[in-house]
């Protein structure tokens, strides 16, 4: 379809670019290792942007009606504002592994296997296991009037497991998620099961909740949550409009010197990987924060043009709406501290394994008030028990300036890889 769209668009546009994406997703839900629901979706969507007489417009469709799409984009451009976009020329792309033939060809039985295995190993009389497994197979075709014409195929496999063990009236719920371009291996399954069993075991005993200021050891899952305000602050739109607390802070230190944050779309087998973005910009590894210093934000073409900076290859498009900047694979480089050292640094405090609700509402300032989804009391550098119903308040940016220890292990949680860290600055609130 994209050829028809571009042919028609070229006749009326100063410049134009389009993306056509296809996706077929199979989604399976298991309870205690038994398949409960099976869904399938297949979709094709086209998103077109046109610059007509210097004015930008756009349109999208799930139909195959190329003429109607182009007419809609022209109508949009007629009422659009003038904005010069710097469309990229075709350039050599890296070739990260984003497609896995075995994942693409897996049938229902193949897909079921991982869900059954994990459920069977974890479920027992007092433990329930809810598991959601998705496999997607698709393609991305990007084209522009500057000559970009790139097509690639993608696969994705994502797993989300929730395990609840009941101790009398006290449930302990642990969650794990995993993502990649290929199917789960036996090692992946063993690692997920071991990780969940460990966290359930820590919850066997109950412990009291400390009051007031607390040293908190954030597990990688919790770090991924508290990075949400930082991720928002690093988006080019927020930096440009001044809604980010990091506006005008490029080159200054914003967090602890042990923190280095990189966005890397070129990693093999990661869910956020891609050779080229949805606007035809070749993807590259982008350091965002280096040794605590802010180096860059992420920009799509339009926000980059507004800000007078180069696009960073983070343009992401859905069928409807404008391209937006979005992270690919976000990595925080690991520190040097073992898990035992992290607990030692925590002293008398809390291990928090995740949060409910961070990221909802107004988090621009970094202020958060959230309930921990799973937390443990640490006393004398040891985990002594599960602490239900812990609520914490604090400021993410201030806590990231007060890092006491940074873990040397950095698991991938879908498209995010972060180590555990021990921070100050959180308060336990009633």
């Amino acid at each position: 379809m994209i050829d028809d769209v571009m042919t028609l668009a070229c006749r009326a546009a100063d410049q134009a670019d389009a993306v056509v994406k296809t996706d077929s997703t199979t989604s399976l839900r298991f309870h205690d290792g038994v398949l409960q629901e099976a869904d399938y979706s297949e979709a094709t969507g086209a998103n077109l942007r046109m610059v007509v007489d210097g004015r930008i417009g756009g349109a999208g469709t799930t139909t195959a009606e190329a003429t109607a799409l182009v007419e809609a984009a022209i109508a949009s451009a007629r009422v659009g504002d003038e904005q010069r976009l710097f469309y990229p020329e075709p350039a050599p792309c890296a070739d990260p592994q984003v497609h896995d033939a075995a994942a693409a060809e897996a049938d229902l039985d193949d897909l079921e296997l991982g869900g059954v295995l994990i459920g069977d190993q974890l479920a027992d009389d007092r433990t329930t296991v809810d598991l959601h497994l998705e496999r997607s197979v698709g393609s991305v075709h990007v084209a522009s009037t500057r000559g970009v014409d790139q097509y690639y195929e993608v696969t994705g496999v994502a797993l989300d497991v929730t395990v609840t063990r009941t101790h009398g009236e006290r449930p302990v719920t642990a969650r794990a998620w995993w993502g990649g371009t290929g199917l789960l291996t036996d090692e992946d399954v063993a690692s997920i099961v071991h990780d969940l069993q460990q966290r359930l075991a820590w919850g066997e005993a109950a412990a009291t909740i400390p009051d007031g200021p607390a040293v908190v050891c954030l597990t990688p899952r919790a770090v991924a949550s508290v990075l949400v305000p930082l991720r928002r602050a690093l988006r080019g739109t927020a930096l440009h409009y001044g809604t980010s607390p990091l506006t005008d802070k490029i080159g200054t230190r914003i967090v602890d010197e042990r923190i280095t944050l990189v966005d890397d779309p070129l990693l093999d087998g990661r869910p956020g990987s891609r050779p080229i973005d949805d606007e035809g910009v070749v993807c590259r590894r982008l350091p965002l924060v280096e040794a605590g210093f802010l180096r860059a934000g992420i920009y799509d073409l339009e926000t980059a043009a507004l800000s007078g900076v180069p696009a960073t290859g983070h343009g992401r498009r859905t069928t409807f709406g404008k391209p937006q900047a979005a992270f690919s694979n976000l990595e925080m480089l690991p520190g040097e501290d073992s898990w035992d050292l992290l607990l030692e640094a925590t002293g008398d405090g809390l291990v928090v394994d995740g949060f409910h609700g961070i990221g909802r509402g107004l988090t621009g300032s970094g202020a958060v008030r959230a309930r921990a989804s799973l937390a443990y009391r640490v006393s004398g550098g040891k985990i002594v028990g599960h602490t239900p119903d812990v609520r914490l308040s604090g400021n993410v940016f201030r806590s990231l300036e007060r890092v006491l220890a940074l873990g040397n292990d950095r698991p991938w949680l879908g498209s995010v890889a972060v180590p555990a860290m021990v921070v100050e600055g959180f308060h336990v609130v009633s």
Binding site: L35, Y40, S76, Y241
Partner: protein
């Protein structure tokens, strides 16, 4: 659709097909962010085999319908259940429902929509020099919808919708405040127009908040305005009354068992998908069940829950017409429509009377509930002094236990307002679903109020 249903080999088959025309216009400060249009077309097949699970297949290419029926059948058969999925029958019906398009948005030129959004934005941005930033997001949609199932139901609906959301940011002497405004409706251009005053008021509110003091932390008698009370009814009571969540989550199941006394006699809360013209209003849900008025709490006692046909069967109750899907991309799940707190007696002044020192909470800026705990921040507040509304205050965050709050309600006024904001309800990745909330003023004898940490 009839042919595809007839050809299906499953015990039960239902098909939804949709075609939506969508326009969005966005403005941020002095910058026009774009006016885009789109056509979203697709369908969803859901089938059930006795002894097996649901099989669901969604698609964007309508030519794929026969293949998707077969695909859904395969998926249903892949799920082997010890106990068959129960299912309350609903009498089949054929019906065409053409809701009033109220000035069909598809006939309004894009430049006219852009001009209107420009005016709304200017109503805020040019209101006062202290307004330093604004944002307006306009969206309209007309959807044609076809539903059919193997029990003989065939429905066609044509339904409009619009939403406008905005915020104004005021700044002076290093202090920054913002105010939100939004409106929506299951209606068209005629209703979307002429909202300038609403957005001008938001600009004024942001300015007023600059000089407003923070409310002092403490416990106060609190009067909730209809918008705040409606949001609490939706978030706290409505979600805990959704039968699919009750069946899946034992913690939720224990919250609102039928017969539990949770509030005073003056407190009645329900959901009504059949009120004319509201955002959550539809004649049928996405299982072909007629929508209805369902009481959840009556005179303070839990009396009902919201159901799909499956959850109704599991709990031996009747379907309530609350199985809704955000679009053809999603399965129907139990959702609210228009959630309400029924009016009581008297007016706002009667609720303020007798309060020496209290807080009047207006609108909701943000908040969340989790099981029986809640935390909500009002758009702004007014102190209540000697039974009268007094100075504006900010930082009005109320947090605590839901049932403590319900138990502390002592008056519900006789006025009543439906709120149709530009947002929507979110659940299981299906967001924003069009809903509305309605309530009178509600008085709570004592609540913890203070700034968010």
């Amino acid at each position: 659709m009839r042919d595809a249903i007839r050809a299906s080999r499953a015990d039960y088959t239902e098909i939804r097909l949709e075609r939506s025309w969508v326009t969005t216009v966005a403005q941020r400060g002095r910058r026009h962010e774009g006016a885009t249009t789109g056509v979203d077309e697709g369908g969803c097949v859901r089938v059930l085999h006795r002894g097996h699970g649901w099989g669901l297949a969604s698609f964007t290419s309508l030519e794929q319908l026969p293949a998707m029926v077969e695909r859904a059948r395969e998926l249903s058969l892949a799920v082997r259940l010890d106990e068959p999925i129960p299912w309350v029958p609903v009498p089949p019906r054929e019906d065409d429902v053409l809701l009033d398009l109220d000035g069909d948005v598809r006939g309004i030129p894009l430049d006219e929509k852009r001009s209107y959004v420009d005016r709304l934005n200017a109503a805020m941005l040019e209101y006062d020099r202290r307004i330093v930033n604004t944002k307006v997001a306009y969206r309209d949609e007309v959807t044609e919808y076809w539903y059919g199932n193997s029990e003989g139901t065939l429905l066609y609906q044509q339904r409009p919708e619009f939403t406008i959301s905005a915020h104004a940011v005021a700044r002076e002497s290093g202090t920054e405040e913002q105010a939100l405004a939004s409106v929506g409706g299951r209606s068209g251009w005629n209703s979307a127009r002429n909202e300038e005053d609403r957005f001008r008021a938001a600009a004024q509110r942001a300015i007023d908040l600059l000089a407003a003091p923070r409310v002092g932390d403490g416990r106060y008698p609190v009067v909730l305005d209809p918008r705040f009370a409606g949001v609490i009814a939706h978030e706290a009571i409505g979600h805990l009354s959704e039968a699919d969540v009750i069946l899946e989550d034992s913690q939720v199941a224990g919250m609102l068992p039928l017969g539990r006394k949770v509030g005073p006699d003056c407190l009645t809360i329900g959901d009504d998908g059949h009120v004319a013209g509201l955002r959550g209003t539809l004649p049928y849900d996405d299982e072909g069940t007629p929508t209805q008025r369902t009481l959840l709490i009556q005179h303070g006692v839990v009396v009902g829950r919201l159901h799909s046909r499956e959850t109704a069967a599991r709990l031996a109750e009747a379907p309530t017409g609350n199985a809704r899907a955000l679009s053809y991309r999603h399965p129907p799940i139990v959702r609210m429509t228009n959630t309400f707190v029924e009016h009581g007696e008297g007016q706002l002044d009667d609720l303020l009377s007798g309060i020496d020192l209290g807080v009047y909470a207006v609108d909701v800026l943000l908040g969340r509930t989790h099981l029986d705990s809640f935390s909500y921040t009002a758009g702004y507040g007014r102190m209540i002094r000697d039974g009268q509304l007094a100075e504006m205050v900010k930082g009005v965050t109320m947090a605590g236990n839901l049932f403590d709050m319900l138990g502390a309600i002592d008056r519900v006024s006789g006025d009543f307002t439906w709120t149709e904001s530009g947002g929507g309800c979110g659940k299981e990745g299906q967001s924003p679903l069009p809903v509305a909330e309605g309530a009178p003023h509600v008085r709570v004898s004592s609540l913890s109020v203070g700034r968010p940490a």
